[in-house]
């Protein structure tokens, strides 16, 4: 019948109109500044530095190996190594970055720095609302701006964080086992070297507090 298609079309539009008041999938608009869509797990924007624990300076995983600085294609990372060392998660004293700057106006979000970091210290953030009115220093982020805690990382990328945590825990367990074995060996050697020592000295090695 002539006109049947028009009637069917108009019925569909009417369904859309009425449905947009009652059901969610007939009104798919997300009103941006007030509501935001959740981002997918693999979303990435600009890098951030992970720290374990609650203090950014003490728990920073980065050891200033400068691999990411060398591998970054647009060369937007600026690292200055510290002069002294700090114990890391496994207790071993490591350098730490005195200055760690990323120029996010240059960064192209390629994630190469994340892929090459051997210490799971730099990961990709999903924050995109970074516009600023200062065109000279506003987009240069320093170590303090870049540091985020491990709990933040776990919330952001759960599977990656779980993987990194597992690896670090395994390393820590290995280091602890090694330290314990070393201590036992040293104690045995000390006991064997001084059989007449009245009191066995407790092992001076303290395992680093694993968190």
């Amino acid at each position: 019948m002539l006109g049947k298609g028009i009637i069917k079309g108009m019925a569909e539009t009417a369904r859309n109109f009425v449905g947009s008041y009652v059901s969610e999938d007939r009104l798919t608009t997300v009103q941006y500044p007030e509501e935001r869509l959740p981002q997918k797990e693999a979303a990435r924007n600009f890098p951030f530095l992970v720290y374990d624990g609650t203090e950014a300076e003490a728990g920073l995983r980065c050891v200033a190996c400068q691999i990411c600085e060398k591998e970054c294609p647009p060369q937007c990372i600026y690292i200055t190594k510290s002069k002294d060392r700090k114990p890391d998660h496994a207790g071993k004293p490591q350098f730490y970055p005195a200055i760690f700057d990323i120029d996010i106006s240059v960064c192209m979000s390629c994630q190469i720095c994340v892929e090459v970091c051997p210490f799971d210290a730099i990961k990709m953030d999903t924050e995109f609302e970074l516009s600023t009115t200062d065109r000279f220093g506003g987009l240069l982020q320093h170590k303090g701006d870049l540091s985020r805690s491990n709990t933040y990382f776990q919330k952001l990328h759960p599977t990656d964080a779980a993987e990194a945590d597992a690896r670090l825990a395994a390393e820590r367990a290995k280091a602890e086992a090694k330290a314990k074995a070393d201590a036992e060996a040293k104690a045995k050697a000390a006991a064997a070297a001084k059989p007449a020592a009245p009191a066995p000295q407790p092992a001076p090695v303290e395992p680093a507090v694993a968190k």
Binding site: M1, L2, G3, I6, G9, M10, E12, T13, A14, N16, F17, S20, Y21, R26, L27, T28, T29, Q31
Partner: protein, 384 residues
């Protein structure tokens, strides 16, 4: 309550000296019509944008005012403060006059539509003819707008717009002639009075009335350049066609003229087919008559918005074919059906015969016209 506007007007007129009473009365009715319909225009723009948005699974404008209903205020301020750009090569006198030549006849057309009991601005003896006459005068403004811009595309758009408007005037007038035949008068007040007495007396509930109403609404959409007939002004086709070179307030005037034209022709449809300001049932007569008129007008406007959100734009040749090959014969058949209705007296037989006379050609035309796509097999030519 029903006669409140009339009593208000008589009270206001009584302040004027005796000699100027008629003039003051005319001025008051004119001001009232312009005020009411201009605010209805503002309301319609926001309703249309929100309605289209909901049809398209999105919100309409919802930032300005509660649920976006102050959007026309923002639009109005924008249109007023925009710079008025007139191309240097444009014919400035004609360019200036074109929006005025559009808006003035369109407001004139609203003068003969009865909006309530005794609420006509002018009760002309040949009101319907007046309405169509001033409707025809708006086509001249389309041409003036298109030509004065000295722009090939705008001229092309104007030509197409005028061809469309002239083609659809014929079914428009013919489908109203059937109503005039039955009602026996060209006066809009008389036509509304002949539909008194509830739903059964409205002309739209007769076979020829329904066909006439549908033809009239389609032709009305084409006359006011509304989707799906908005090729001359389509934004994705010819980028606003004949009013490309207009900016700011003149564009707002064109917009206003188009929408008021839509209101005027919907008002005429209500007068001719939908029983004017009569209530559908006798027990609802206590509701004021203008409430019924504007309620029906809002329903028709919602229908226009609904069709705009649904149908794709018709191409120019499809449009012309539709007007001349389908609507014109159907309008003539409708005339015959209306004549038969009048001559056959009351009874079931006239319903059957008139329905047959209307539906038969509809099906015949539908089958024959749109099946012959003489598109042959595609021929490919390759470079040698």
């Amino acid at each position: 309550m029903d006669q409140l506007p009339i009593t208000l007007k008589t009270w206001l007129v009584s302040f004027a000296p005796e000699a100027y009473r008629e003039l003051v009365s005319a001025i008051i009715s004119t001001a009232a019509i312009i005020g009411v319909f201009a605010s209805l225009f503002a309301l319609t723009t926001v309703l249309e944008r929100k309605g289209l948005g909901r049809i398209q699974n999105r919100f309409g404008p919802n930032r300005v005012g509660p649920f976006g209903f102050l959007q026309p205020v923002a639009d109005g301020i924008k249109a007023l403060i925009k710079e008025d750009i007139v191309p240097r090569a444009a014919d400035s006198v004609v360019h200036f006059l074109a929006p005025l030549v559009l808006v003035a006849p369109v407001f004139l057309a609203l003068a003969v539509i009865p909006m309530g009991r005794n609420l006509v601005a002018i009760d002309l003896d040949s009101g319907v003819l007046f309405f169509f006459a001033v409707g025809a005068a708006t086509e001249l403004s389309v041409f003036m707008a298109g030509w004065s811009s000295r722009n090939k595309y705008s001229l092309l758009g104007a030509m197409r717009a005028i061809a469309q408007m002239i083609s659809y005037e014929v079914p428009l007038i013919l489908s109203s002639v059937s109503v005039i035949m039955i009602a026996g008068s060209l006066s809009t007040v008389a036509i509304v009075d002949s539909q008194a007495g509830g739903l059964a007396n409205w002309f739209v509930f007769t076979p020829w009335g329904l066909a006439g109403f549908i033809l009239f609404m389609i032709a009305a959409a084409a006359e006011s350049n509304r989707s799906p007939f908005d090729l001359p002004e389509g934004e994705s086709e010819i980028i606003a066609g004949y009013y490309i070179e207009y900016s700011g307030f003149k564009f707002a005037l064109f917009f206003l003229g188009e929408y008021i034209g839509m209101f005027a022709v919907s008002g005429m449809a209500i007068t001719l087919f939908l029983g004017g300001w009569h209530a559908p049932f006798g027990f609802l007569e206590w509701v004021p008559s203008y409430f019924w008129f504007f309620g029906k007008l809002l329903i028709l406007i919602a229908g226009f918005i609904w069709v705009r959100g649904t149908l794709p734009r018709l191409r120019m040749d499809q449009l012309m074919n539709f007007a001349w090959k389908f609507m014109l014969p159907m309008a003539l058949v409708n005339l015959v059906a209306a004549g038969l209705w009048h001559l056959l007296g009351t009874g079931v037989s006239r319903w059957l015969i008139c329905s047959l006379v209307v539906v038969g050609p509809y099906i015949l035309l539908g089958r024959t016209l749109f099946h012959s796509n003489n598109v042959g097999k595609r021929i490919y030519r390759y470079a040698e």
